[in-house]
Symmetry: C2
Subunit: 330 residues, 2 copies
């Protein structure tokens, strides 16, 4: 029986799949499914290619009720910049959840991962940030710094954004771009302590291996999302923050214990409450989220295959609606 596979390039995906509330909503559904325990998500498959100075990760997840399931391949080859190529690239494959047939190949070079990662930040902000956020702050100045603030603005339309990074010039550039994109006041800050003091919502987006966020900076009515750590060597948040906050929530408790902020806190003996609640449990109401405007809340995002399946399913609908992509009959 003839069958068509849709091939979609990064440029086509950037046009058809913007970071918007529909992307946030579909990723929120994935977290809800994770909390309900119905998702099939095998451990990440990893290949360490020392000879090529590269690594490859494969993630997959099946979410009951979704039309498709995605498998994502993420190669990182760290000599690529010398060749004028990006280190990170990769693709997602979307399969029919009913027949296993390949539906679409998204040659996204990580774009859909960027979107689903930012969308998770918006889900965290929606359920955990104070209801009124006048000022949001971001630590880090890369792609996710921009996307996390754009995502947060969808659910908490703040009037001011503050940016801090080790490189002042990059922070300035990031602030200018965010100010324009969101139509808000935007400032690069000299001191991250000031950024946190003036913000009700902070997102850390760095690959830091030593904390860039100090416990001394916590203040009533603050929500912090830490999305930078996704490997066992990374750590953005000072360990005692997790226990000192009123609520600490993980995207995946087991994964945060291996790859997220929870790892450092547990190793330091500063988290002794076992597995924390998960974002999906807050989404579904199994666990209370923020119950008081004065609370301090923390969300730890390491990235899950369920988000990939959610964004890939969403992308197929968006690309089909836009009439984009190349159909290959097979």
């Amino acid at each position: 029986m003839a069958h068509e596979v849709l091939i979609v390039t990064e440029a086509e995906l950037r046009n058809a799949v913007p970071l918007d509330l529909s992307a946030v909503d579909v990723v929120e559904c994935a977290f809800a499914a994770l909390a309900e325990g119905s998702v099939v998500m095998p451990p990440v498959m990893s290949m360490d290619l020392a000879e090529a100075h590269g690594e490859v990760d494969v993630k997959a997840a099946y979410i009951p009720g979704f039309d498709g399931f995605a498998i994502k391949v993420s190669p990182g080859f760290f000599d690529n910049p010398r060749l004028g190529l990006p280190s990170l690239n990769g693709l997602m494959i979307l399969f029919s959840a009913k027949t296993g047939l390949v539906e679409a190949l998204f040659l996204d070079n990580g774009y859909l991962t960027d979107i689903r990662t930012a969308a998770a930040g918006a889900v965290a902000a929606r359920h955990l940030a104070p209801s009124e956020v006048a000022t949001a702050g971001v630590i880090g100045t890369g792609v996710q710094a921009r996307l996390q603030m754009r995502a947060a603005h969808l659910v908490r339309p703040f009037e001011r954004v503050l940016v801090w990074g080790r490189d002042r010039d990059k922070a300035e550039t990031c602030a200018v771009e965010l100010g324009r994109a969101l139509g808000v006041e935007a400032l690069a800050m000299d001191d991250p302590a000031d950024l946190v003091a003036e913000s009700q919502l902070v997102v850390t987006t760095t690959p830091a291996k030593a904390p860039v966020f100090k416990a001394a900076w916590l203040h009533p009515g603050l929500h912090v999302t830490a999305m930078g750590s996704d490997q066992s060597g990374k750590n953005e948040i000072e360990a005692r923050v997790l226990a000192e906050a009123d609520l600490y929530v993980a995207d995946s408790a087991a994964q945060c214990a291996r790859l997220g902020e929870l790892r450092a806190a547990e190793r330091a003996g500063l988290w002794t409450r076992g597995l924390p609640p998960e974002l999906g449990q807050v989404v579904t109401g199994l666990t209370p989220g923020r119950t008081d405007e004065g609370q301090v809340t923390i969300c730890d995002l390491t990235g899950t295959g369920a988000q990939d399946t959610a964004i890939a399913t969403h992308a197929l609908r968006a690309v089909q609606a836009a009439g984009a992509g190349t159909r290959i009959e097979t």
Copy 2:
């Protein structure tokens, strides 16, 4: 930087990548690399999708010296026949071993797996079968029964082929097709014992869960390749055959202990020699293969990711030479 990805359909692959000696040779190189211990091959990633009556396996392997590495996704959805669709489908993705960029997507629905599996049978026959094979026999009547005999004929150009299967009609059809394809005498047999008695080379190609090959049938100057078992519940060869043979060789010793004939033999206490030698060690001369025309040899094939990387790399060259496939700029 603009980059092109080649999309190749099953029909294009069937035209451009025949089962021939060049396919056998490239798969032999993969076995040699496996023996040298330089291959990076993570455990298979599996998803059991009970709700959809489906399963998905992901295999990957990196072979130093090969231009590319492949990741293969093999879904099996067992309600598909009711929808007029095949149960098994899937694809291979070939990445540059130097940059990690996607080079090609092979929408092969398992065709390349069929070829690399048959090619492994030819590698086994080349190194383990008697130098003169007048009659070859196959147990099983499916796609691999045909391909294994065609592959064996490339390296041992026998004059007669015998076929046995539980379904006599299917055995007849298979024999007729093989006789035509190879230009040899071809007979469907009533009794597998007779088939083995008259053959110098036998391949078992069944999904049997209880042995279809009996130890009593062993005779001097016989080589047997068992390629049907690739799951822990499968078993084609009576357990004591492995120890009674002069030489028992595995494609991957560790994998055969989990998924191959070795599993049943070890569980029955009839194999106590630890891990057997591997086919790649025979290919490279690390372990002697057949040293005497009268020996009895057995090869256990469960399938490895290294073969996928080998055949995918080979397929890219063949498809490029044929000018086939669709180029997508990304």
